[in-house]
Symmetry: C2
Subunit: 87 residues, 2 copies
């Protein structure tokens, strides 16, 4: 299935969240990851994130699209590939 993950995370924790997400999905915009993933891996990813975030402050959305034919992506401006970004 295809998943889009977006987030607003406190600056103290955002690097940790990104490091987890980078192991599962592609980093395509400052606060956005996307990609194909299995249900099992998505649940594992979520569990790791739950250890890191403060639920009362941080916000992560998972838009899950079972069939990748059921969405279209349009881009205005540049399409970013932050995976090659080293920090």
């Amino acid at each position: 299935m295809f998943v889009i993950v977006t987030y607003d995370i406190n600056e103290k924790r955002v690097d940790k969240v990104r490091r987890i997400l980078r192991r599962y999905l592609s980093w395509v915009q400052n606060s956005v990851f996307e990609g194909e993933i299995t249900i099992g891996k998505l649940e594992k990813c979520k569990k790791e994130l739950q250890f890191v975030i403060v639920p009362e402050e941080d916000s992560i959305y998972f838009y899950i699209i079972e069939n990748k034919n059921n969405y279209i992506k349009n881009v205005l401006g540049i399409e970013k590939d932050l995976d090659s970004y080293v920090y």
Copy 2:
């Protein structure tokens, strides 16, 4: 159709982009809007955005899901409603 809009916009232009998006969709995270919209309105929204952004610097993604039954949204942490945010 349901649309998720995510963006990385230069600080000089981000307020203008948000003002346009707020007329069409719900502001649900710092760099994310979502909601139901017609093709006609989406095209109109894109045209307005094209006048504002600098394509070599800014990035806007439109994830378009024809049928709202074809996606599921999971939330970790808080679900934000920035529409009531006045600036």
